[in-house]
């Protein structure tokens, strides 16, 4: 390996065996990942509150800290201090175990999510496959929570979570496969490396089908995070609070944190798969930054920014849309997203066969990018079409038309 792609390699050197690297990874990464998850949780919850507030003509939290930035900390302290209640007829062991399982299921996903060039816990050869595999672990925690609560509403939440898992995993896997077929690798770093250079090298702009794949992935990711319009397992107005109805205090906080961490994971994966990972999309800029520590820092900033933008879109969606029904969720996942995902997979590979995208080729040891773009046409047309579409929708919408006229 010419460049140390993981921090662990960097610390231990190349000579270490993979098991040593494995143990080292745990030791080196456990603390920063946990800290990062907490940070993601705090920031996302604050963002959620502010975004929802501003969408709804409200101020949101303003008291604790500047613009309520520390409100989440205060809430966390409150939740820590709350009494730990376990319902009398609950399955006590599972009840206590479920939040940990959900949180662990989320946090293992961070193992293959890169935070920047070289900032990745483990660049597995099968990173994408690993993500698909561990993505459903959180759902197991949710199912356990709903069962253990011994509450019928919670049980319905569990059942819905199980239904949701088997529904969204298929289109999500198809979106993964579409990108994997383009990239020819399952490694997250390998996928990012193929998107270096200009913005048109991003997988989103490779061909028209990857747009569809992105949308399919994003919808499935919403379902994976149990975010509206797929918040069926906790569906507040239907199931009281769904699977966490009986949870309070710190156990509830862990579920909460897991949800927001999951939002970050899926958004970071979207950034890696479709939006160029840690590359800015401007070839000279990337070249000027170069590798090394500067590249690490800038790259980390870029990918975290991209991820948080996608997280914000998730929030924006949540505060706009009503919740869909369980059968509609299954209909959407299995009868809309899945056919379209298959179409995308086939279409994308056929497109690549006849109209290969810019030559990003594996040349000897590393990836070399050809920045002369054929894909720029796709990118330009796609962007123009998107803008035109949004404009036409706005024009067709009375209240928006009135607002833009005035």
């Amino acid at each position: 390996m010419t460049t140390p792609y993981t921090l662990v390699d960097w610390v231990l050197g190349d000579g270490a065996g993979w098991l040593a690297r494995f143990i080292g990874a745990i030791l080196v990464w456990a603390v920063p990942i946990t800290g990062f998850v907490s940070f993601v949780g705090l920031l996302s919850i604050w963002l959620e509150r502010k975004i929802s507030a501003h969408i709804q003509c409200r101020l949101g939290p303003m008291e604790v800290g500047p613009h309520g930035a520390l409100q989440t900390v205060a809430d966390g302290v409150k939740l820590l201090a709350k009494e730990d209640i376990i319902p009398a007829d609950a399955d006590r062991i599972l009840f206590a175990f479920a939040p940990m399982l959900a949180f662990a299921g989320t946090i293992v996903g961070f193992a293959v999510v890169p935070f920047g060039p070289g900032l990745i816990v483990a660049d597995l050869d099968i990173g994408l496959f690993y993500l698909a595999a561990v993505g459903s672990l959180e759902a197991i925690g949710v199912i356990a929570a709903g069962w253990a609560s011994n509450n019928k509403w919670s049980l319905f939440g569990s059942v819905r979570a199980a239904t949701q898992v088997v529904s969204y995993e298929i289109p999500m896997g198809l979106a993964f496969v579409t990108i994997a077929a383009l990239a020819g690798t399952l490694s997250m770093v390998g996928i990012v490396e193929q998107q270096q250079g200009w913005i048109a090298n991003w997988f989103l702009f490779r061909n028209p089908f990857t747009w569809v794949a992105f949308i399919i992935y994003y919808i499935a990711a919403l379902a994976e995070c149990k975010r509206a319009p797929f918040d069926l397992p906790e569906a507040e107005s239907e199931l009281v609070s769904g699977f966490h109805t009986e949870y309070s205090g710190m156990r509830f906080a862990i579920f909460f944190l897991a949800e927001y961490a999951q939002m970050y994971v899926v958004s970071a994966v979207a950034a890696v798969l479709f939006l160029g990972g840690w590359y800015t999309g401007i070839a000279p800029l990337d070249a000027a930054i170069g590798g090394g520590t500067a590249g690490m820092v800038v790259g980390a900033g870029v990918i975290v920014t991209k991820s948080f933008l996608l997280v914000c879109v998730q929030m924006w969606l949540r505060w706009t849309l009503p919740r869909i029904r369980l059968d509609q969720m299954m209909y959407l996942c299995l009868k809309v997203l899945m056919p379209f995902g298959m179409l995308t997979l086939v279409g994308s590979t056929v497109w690549e066969h006849f109209l290969p995208s810019p030559a990003i080729v594996k040349d000897g040891g590393g990836w070399t990018g050809n920045t002369v773009m054929t894909g720029v046409v796709v990118a330009a047309i796609g962007t123009v079409a998107l803008v035109a579409y949004v404009r036409s929708v706005i024009r067709a919408t009375p209240s928006l038309r009135a607002a833009s006229n005035s």
């Binding site: 107005s237 009503p322 029904r325 607002a403």
Partner: protein, 387 residues
């Protein structure tokens, strides 16, 4: 409700796969039962096989109360019936008391103020119904938008009568206080403000495909079933029957205003589904706005309460029944007076009570999520159901 599994056959048409049945208590503490209302649901998975409504958690002996407090004091108890349409309740009870007097003349100005307040309150009530309905379906933002606009109406009411919810404003013989120019200006402002805002609810909810799919073809209430249960108000009009007391049996001065009566057309699904009931409310707000605009334009000067009703109310012996088109349906008050200053008997015909009674009929075979949608579309207020 330990019902034996006898009447399940036609109950689960949408279910192909069998699983275990479960009894589920929805309420009395549930976010979507709109108050302390309890439905016992027998479910097969998510499919509702059967449901049974239990009411009475909010019973306050309103009718008995009226036999022990004076007529004037009874008015403010009517506030608490349908606490979202207190003006309409006040109006109905006041009219029932007024009808006990043989030749009572209500001043023109008072009548106009009553209509303005009742219609504004209808808008406020429908706003809340639409907003909470959106929240039942899972959209929280329209709820906040509706509340933002409802607050404007409540502020107008507060400037008129000092309270935001329990107005105690319309009294036998007129209204409690006059309204002045600044209040009329505020009402006119609101009329101008509200029309474009009403489109926002359409863009966010009524036209939204997720919302339409959640509500269309759900909880279909056929016309004859609605009539047989005595359903009134938007829930009845959603089934396509053009019945509105303001037009069919005009009271107060409603015969002077031009307005339409929106009815359900089954535009997105079946006639009489949740979407129709919802859309009737959305459209009624605009019709109410029309009435308010006309009433504000022609409001005359003069006294705001009748000079004939001075001092303690002692209606002559007799009985009266008055019904008005409240925002949830036909609200009726039956008052018997035996010449004293307290009523001998008061009976309230509460629309929500009749509307909720058919819940188990139209919710068979739906999903739990649909149950929430159906309860929301019937728009009940438990203060009125339980009285």
């Amino acid at each position: 409700m330990n019902a034996p599994h006898t009447n399940s056959p036609e109950a689960a048409p949408t279910s192909d796969v069998r699983s275990e049945e479960m009894l589920l208590n929805m309420g009395p503490q549930h976010p979507s039962t709109h108050g302390v209302f309890r439905v016992v649901i027998r479910t097969d998975g998510e499919i509702v096989l059967d449901s049974e409504s239990h009411v009475g958690y909010l019973h306050r002996c309103f009718e008995k109360h009226c036999e022990s407090v004076s007529f004037l004091q009874s008015v403010l108890y009517t506030d608490r019936l349908d606490y979202l349409t207190s003006m309409g309740n006040n109006l109905a009870f006041s009219m029932a008391v007024e009808r006990l007097y043989p030749d009572l003349k209500i001043p023109e100005r008072a009548e106009h103020i009553r209509v303005i307040c009742a219609e504004l309150n209808r808008i406020a009530s429908h706003l809340l119904a639409i907003g909470t309905y959106g929240m039942d379906i899972g959209a929280i933002t329209p709820f906040l938008y509706c509340f933002r606009d409802r607050e404007k109406i409540l502020s107008i009411f507060e400037s008129i009568c000092g309270q935001r919810l329990n107005y105690n404003y319309v009294r036998p013989g007129g209204v409690a206080y006059d309204i002045d120019d600044s209040m009329i200006a505020a009402i006119k402002d609101f009329c101008g403000y509200f029309r474009p805002k009403a489109q926002e609810y359409d863009d966010l909810l009524s036209n939204n495909d997720i919302f339409v799919r959640r509500t269309a073809n759900v909880g279909v209430l056929p016309k004859d079933l609605a009539i047989s249960y005595g359903v009134t108000g938007p829930s009845l009009r959603g089934s396509g029957l053009k019945r509105d007391l303001r037009r069919d049996a005009p009271y107060s001065i409603y015969d002077r205003f031009k307005f339409d009566i929106p009815v359900g057309t089954g535009e997105k699904g079946t006639l009489g589904d949740c979407y129709d009931r919802y859309m009737v409310r959305v459209r009624e707000m605009i019709e109410s706005l029309k009435i308010v605009e006309q009433a504000v334009a022609q409001i005359p000067d003069g006294p705001f309460k009748s000079e004939q009703l001075k001092g303690k109310l002692r209606p002559p012996k007799g009985e009266s029944f008055v019904r008005v088109e409240n925002s949830r349906g036909e609200l009726g008050f039956y008052v018997i007076s035996d010449g004293k200053d307290v009523a001998a008997r008061v009976k309230c015909r509460a629309p929500s009570f009749h509307n909720i009674s058919l819940l188990s009929d139209i919710s068979k075979g739906c999903m739990i999520a649909d149950m929430v949608a159906i309860i929301g579309s019937l728009d009940i207020v438990m203060g009125e159901v339980d009285r």
